[in-house]
Symmetry: C2
Subunit: 427 residues, 2 copies
């Protein structure tokens, strides 16, 4: 395919006619597909079904001598702490296992910074305007938490090695910068994994604010598409070695290992912050749902059990990612109007289209019955200044549907680009 | 028994010797009993065991066409909303079903007032010092949430009909009074149930603050010890009728119906506040654990199912409450140094001992191997100005243990009183 930029007006108009015809044909199919969020498919849910019946008898509910059916253990079952420690490669002592949602645990941690403060500093609400560093494109639900609290978000560029560390080092000189969002492995939506250099640089930051905290949302820690997968350096140890033992809050959940919304989630907290966070958690609730924690312990057994289980997920998901890659390559390569990521894991592909056309592409796709993540979602305040980023979530639909959907997206990308180029030439 | 106040010094000293001997005898038994918290007994946990295996197959996880294993429904399963609506006698539309902890839902609701505000008013953190009305004796975990946020707590007297409404009406004239804690049925620790008059008076309050909210912790809504049980008026309807449709946040959980810490909890929100609270809940988390909600729906079926189930709990608990009543009556009646409540439900008995002796009684009991709720716990800031209130939690130990424990408590109450009276006479 020739780059669109090299086409004459006549060629563009011809291309436009072809694309419109294809688009109308797709529209005519009456498709109804929701690809707005990263949602596991029914086949993935079935993988963990046996977990539902592993606590049938009263004896099954005793774990290491602890009655999991009754109150107690605000930090969660020791065995569940151990399970997450193995999954994440951290110290079980520092793991707090909660209920079903790591997002909720991140939300609550930010609320703690806002209402009560970290590191002996004043609560953020008493410190005037505070700011968070937000690698972009990023995760809309992270940004919504900050926006809701009036925390100013500063977007910085995401690269295949992780966030632009020069920008980060510069920003943390500002004492009002209190936090930074990260999805360090198979980042949402790029699928990029932070390089060892990036993780080391983050771990050894010297922020002006003593209450600066890195929010390390390790949502896709074991979500490899291939046997190798990406390797992520251990930020907790690196931070501790660099004298930043309290700088990182790590989060994870089994939402995309067992059941979305009915898994278990955890926070990993620096040794110095632990007593303080424990105290606040003890005020918030009596204890998490230890029976659901125990279900996960019984079913997964240990870190290796999780790894084996995740291979089954990969078998289901990988063909869907491949279908997107194949369709995009066939339709878009060489056009010079789109680039996209090729992740080794996670739940998303990030698609960058011709500046100023992302909203149009998403609108066109909707016309054809294909619901994509709303335009701007990957930027703070839903404001993608280039209107160019689109998040592709290929996990839920069937392979056939994904193949079709990716073709439709590609056609929409080209149609929107041709429209834009023609309109620019006409001006 | 003659009142202690009528005893001569010699009689007091004789009584003291008898009590000391009894106390030493109890101490010698090497008892180790924890009665500090309201915890269901293992036999109660077994009542709901079958709930653990009702979601064995994938088909079992579909409820009214909704796949409960996947993301979605931030307010909870419609069937779970309906279940709580029947239990609480409220409109299902206004019920938000969360995870396992109603305390957590109350905590989060107060955090919303603090960080974001209610009723279009400024967040509480921007309004200077704000206050909560706290009927005493009350629930320490309620008070801890306020204390942690720096919300000033104003204790008011609890009566057998509910809180002293004259005091409440006076206090809500202060615009800085933003909330009030209530456990309206079988209150913790008195076991009192608010009378219809009290509920009506609360529902028709005219608080100065537009963002004043009644926190209605209906923790013991169906926790009757007898078939009749107490009747609680419907505050949501009464408040709506009085033009206060947004004044009440109601809470409940199945912690003491199914599993403590592994049940499901809900908040009931006024119609006007609903969209706002929904929005904030949507930012906090993607959805609650709908599988655990579905387990409860499948197992309890409906409000009647819950009522029948609660009769089984009552069968187990009632003899324990009776054991305490019998021991207290036998040991303490007529002494003029103690009074206690005789609840028809709930989890506690409130014991008032001679002023200035509650800490001593609790200390003596600890010496005899009996851990009671720490002194002062039923008051804000752990400050019981009379040092007189003790919370008795009779549900966890066996009936025999409770019988013994109640005797020991009674002996400690008398011993501490005699010590105190002798020491006062000697001064």
């Amino acid at each position: 395919m020739h780059p669109y930029s090299s086409l004459t007006m006549a060629q563009l108009q011809q291309e436009s006619e072809i694309l419109k015809a294809r688009f109308e044909e797709y529209k005519g199919r009456g498709l109804k597909l929701n690809m707005a969020r990263g949602v596991p498919s029914p086949a993935q849910l079935d993988l963990s079904q046996d977990m539902m019946s592993c606590l049938g008898g009263a004896d099954d509910c005793i774990c290491d001598g602890v009655e999991a059916r009754n109150y107690g253990l605000p930090e969660g079952l020791p065995a569940a702490k151990q399970l997450f420690a193995e999954i994440l490669g951290v110290n079980a002592e520092q793991v707090i296992v909660g209920n079903n949602s790591s997002l909720n645990m991140m939300h609550d941690m930010i609320m703690r910074g806002f209402c009560f403060g970290f590191g002996g500093c004043k609560p953020w609400f008493q410190q005037g305007r505070v700011k968070f560093i937000c690698p972009v494109p990023g995760y809309d639900r992270h940004f919504a938490i900050c926006e809701n609290l009036g925390i100013e978000m500063i977007p910085i560029r995401m690269t295949p090695d992780g966030p632009d560390m020069d920008a980060v080092r510069e920003l943390v000189k500002d004492e009002s910068v209190k936090g930074m969002w990260n999805i360090p492995k198979y980042s949402n939506p790029t699928g990029y994994t932070y390089s060892d250099e990036t993780v080391k640089a983050l771990a050894s930051l010297k922020p002006a604010a003593k209450d600066f905290r890195i929010f390390w949302d390790n949502a896709y820690c074991v979500h490899d598409l291939t046997d190798e997968g990406d390797r992520l350096a251990d930020i907790m140890s690196l931070a501790e070695a660099a004298g930043n033992e309290n700088m990182v809050f790590m989060f994870a959940s089994t939402s995309k290992m067992s059941f979305p919304g009915a898994g278990i989630a955890c926070a990993v907290v620096g040794k110095g912050d632990l007593p303080y966070v424990r105290k606040l958690i003890g005020i918030q609730s009596i204890c998490p749902d230890k029976l659901n924690q125990l279900r996960h312990v019984r079913y997964f057994k240990d870190g290796n059990g999780v790894k084996e289980h995740m291979k089954k997920h990969a078998e289901i998901i990988r063909p869907k990612f491949e279908a997107v890659q194949n369709a995009f390559t066939a339709e878009l390569e060489g056009c010079g109007i789109a680039s996209w990521t090729r992740p080794n894991g996670g739940y998303f592909i990030s698609l960058d289209v011709l500046n100023g056309t992302a909203s149009r592409v998403i609108g066109l796709a909707a016309e054809a019955g294909l619901l994509l993540t709303p335009a701007g979602s990957t930027w703070p305040y839903h404001n993608d200044p280039d209107d160019s980023n689109i998040r592709i979530a290929p996990t839920y639909p069937s392979v056939d549907d994904i193949k079709l959907a990716a073709e439709i997206i590609a056609v929409c990308v080209k149609l929107a680009a041709v429209e834009k180029i023609i309109s620019a030439k006409e001006c």
